[in-house]
């Protein structure tokens, strides 16, 4: 058996030493596979980044309450009385006797995009005083919080990055009113960073919403309190609401888009992989064809068919893995942390997020490359093994 392995190693070494003579086609194959890896990693890092942003938006001990029929905050309505019933429900965390429940308004405004200059939808959230307790990962990084009762806005870091005119000290005009930008905040990379925040009461007035809200975001006493809280609300005949954990809510909000990006990414990568596969096939058929006499000579001397197959497969996979690794590395350098924003179709507003090239993506890209190399080498390898020795010995 060790003899078999040393045969395979020797034959592979001979074949690898001829790569230089075939560098044109070998290089083409490597570049083709590298392209597949770039696209694969690039597109899927979008999905990973978007999903990551939406997932870090949600905490397991925070629940969001919407009207029963609503499929997002935008289509939900809650009256003041309803929000009060929600705040009084069992399972809600309390600090100094005050329920940690934030009744919120959610409207879409238009702001010019920094890059394109054209208007893009940006979410403006009106929040209650408890909002800062409920979303405890929120941090002011510039300026200060808005003051209740005033036309003041604080801006998520993602929104500040993608929309124009949101620097602290600037004024923006929304509807008939001017608003002061007073602060910039982060929210641990969550989707709140794509939002603008102001006082819910001020927003109700300027958007003529009376005393109605759209959602209530509630911190629970513990993650385990969720069931009791939910049961109390859904059993209450005065309320027509649905309850979700915040983490699940954002997951469902992002699922459609990241799913779509993933499918598109896989599809594009699959198409390119098919192209690269034919490139690899062509390269390896050529490699076998130019070495027919050499392979036949080795076989005539007594080398087995197995080592010949191994040598062709090894070369093909090696070229593909080198190409794929370079491509994945290039994608990492180019895309990791690259910031972008997209329309979240559930809320019709911009979500700012960063591409994430995860280690898993890199491993997948290299595995895909190896697979392309394997398939591309398999049939040429089998052909090499079946070369009629006697006839091939005389080929010139």
């Amino acid at each position: 058996m060790s003899n078999w392995f040393s045969q395979a190693a020797s034959v592979t070494a001979f074949s690898l030493r001829t790569i230089g003579q075939r560098r044109g086609s070998v290089l083409t194959t490597a570049v083709g596979v590298a392209g597949v890896a770039v696209v694969f990693v690039g597109v899927l890092s979008i999905a990973a980044g978007f999903r990551g942003t939406m997932q870090s938006s949600g905490a397991p001990d925070v629940a969001i309450v919407l009207r029963t029929s609503a499929n997002g905050e935008l289509s939900s309505v809650l009256s003041r009385e309803e929000t009060q019933l929600i705040a009084e429900a069992p399972g809600v965390a309390r600090a100094g006797g005050v329920a940690q429940s934030s009744a919120e308004l959610f409207v879409i405004i238009n702001l010019p995009d920094k890059k394109t200059g054209s208007d893009a939808n940006v979410p403006l959230r009106g929040v209650g005083p408890a909002a800062f307790l409920v979303r405890d990962r929120l941090q002011i990084v510039a300026g200060r919080r808005f003051e209740p009762g005033r036309n003041e806005i604080m801006v998520g870091a993602g929104a500040a990055r993608t929309s124009a005119g949101l620097e602290v000290g600037r004024k923006i005009k929304l509807g008939n009113n001017e608003w002061d930008v007073v602060g910039i905040f982060t929210a641990a990379g969550g989707s709140a960073e794509s939002e603008l925040w102001t006082d819910a009461a001020v927003l109700q007035t300027s958007y003529q919403r009376g005393s109605s809200f759209q959602s209530a975001t509630v911190r629970l006493a513990s993650p385990e309190s969720y069931q009791a809280f939910r049961d109390a609300l859904t059993a209450n005949p005065q309320l027509k609401v649905q309850v979700q954990r915040q983490s699940e809510f954002y997951e469902s909000q992002s699922g459609a888009l990241s799913g779509f990006i993933e499918i598109a990414g896989f599809f594009i990568a699959a198409m390119m992989a098919l192209g690269a596969l034919f490139g690899a096939l062509n390269t390896m058929y050529t490699a076998v064809a130019t070495r027919v006499r050499e392979i036949a000579t080795l076989r005539a001397l007594g080398f087995g068919a197995g080592p010949v197959i191994v040598s062709v497969l090894t070369e093909s996979m090696l070229v593909a893995i080198v190409g794929g690794t370079l491509g994945a590395g290039a994608a990492y350098v180019a895309f990791d942390g690259f910031t972008a924003s997209t329309l979240n179709w559930q809320s019709f507003s911009q979500v700012a997020f960063a591409f994430r090239v995860t280690p898993a993506l890199l491993v997948q890209a290299i595995a895909l490359s190896a697979f392309i190399g394997f398939l591309g080498g398999l049939f040429p390898a089998l052909r090499a093994a079946k070369i009629p020795i006697a006839a091939a010995l005389r080929e010139t």
Binding site: N3, S10, F14, R17, E294, L301, G302, A390, L393, R394
Partner: protein, 233 residues
């Protein structure tokens, strides 16, 4: 195996070799018998397409007969499968080709070492054997030369060194001088003759050069797949 000079080393009995081209059957060898004794230097002559190389391939285990038997040193090889044949070739056959068939990426010594990769010899032993074989063919000083740096005659010497390095039972040469000029060809024939006379190597050489066959101890003629009793006119 004994070294009795009358021992039949190669015993080909009633061999047919039929190739198919579409629906047509081509009988390249027909009911052919051939015996070669140990220590013989046999020249196999005949016009193109007479079946010389096909016969050589059958004796060398590179091909199998359609019917009939081939025994080398008393061992039947016509029934071996591909894997068994490959192992048998590695042990018993030294092959010399018209176009040398050296691996261009390997230097002379490495080319000669190739068949030894199939043995259990250590790297140092392989090197020693290869150096000794190159010395026998007169290329002691060209160990590290690559095939492209060698003349045709020198390349064929490396080919012969590769063929004898395993001390095979039989040396099979397919037109060994076919690609060489007269002078280089003569040197190669002298080398083969010396291997036959001084080292007792059994050699079968396919050629259609009468000059080459004159160096052999016996010449047989093939025509249309059959052995002729005597030299054709």
């Amino acid at each position: 195996m004994s070294n009795d000079n009358n021992e039949v080393l190669v015993d080909v009995q009633g061999v047919d070799r039929v190739f198919r081209r579409g629906s047509e059957e081509i009988h390249v060898l027909q009911k052919l018998d051939l015996q070669v004794r140990r220590g013989e230097f046999l020249a196999l002559m005949g016009p193109s397409g007479s079946g010389k190389s096909t016969l050589l391939n059958l004796i060398g285990g590179l091909d199998r007969p359609s019917s009939g038997t081939v025994a080398i040193g008393g061992e039947r090889i016509d029934g071996l499968n591909d894997r068994q044949l490959a192992a048998w070739r590695a042990r018993h056959v030294g092959l010399v080709f018209q176009f040398y068939n050296l691996l261009p990426v390997l230097n002379a010594q490495r080319n000669v070492e190739l068949p030894l990769l199939l043995t259990s010899l250590s790297a140092a032993q392989r090197r020693d054997h290869a150096v000794a074989a190159l010395e026998i063919v007169g290329l002691k000083d060209r160990n590290s030369s690559f095939p492209t740096q060698l003349s045709g005659g020198e390349q064929q010497r490396v080919g012969i060194a590769r063929a004898i390095v395993t001390d095979p039972t039989i040396l099979l040469c397919d037109e060994p001088t076919g690609d060489l000029d007269q002078k280089s060809g003569d040197e190669i024939l002298s080398l083969l003759q010396a291997l036959n006379r001084e080292q007792g190597k059994t050699i079968i050489m396919v050629t259609h050069d009468p000059h080459a066959s004159a160096r052999a101890s016996r010449t047989v003629y093939l025509n249309k797949g059959r052995l002729l009793a005597e030299k054709p006119e």
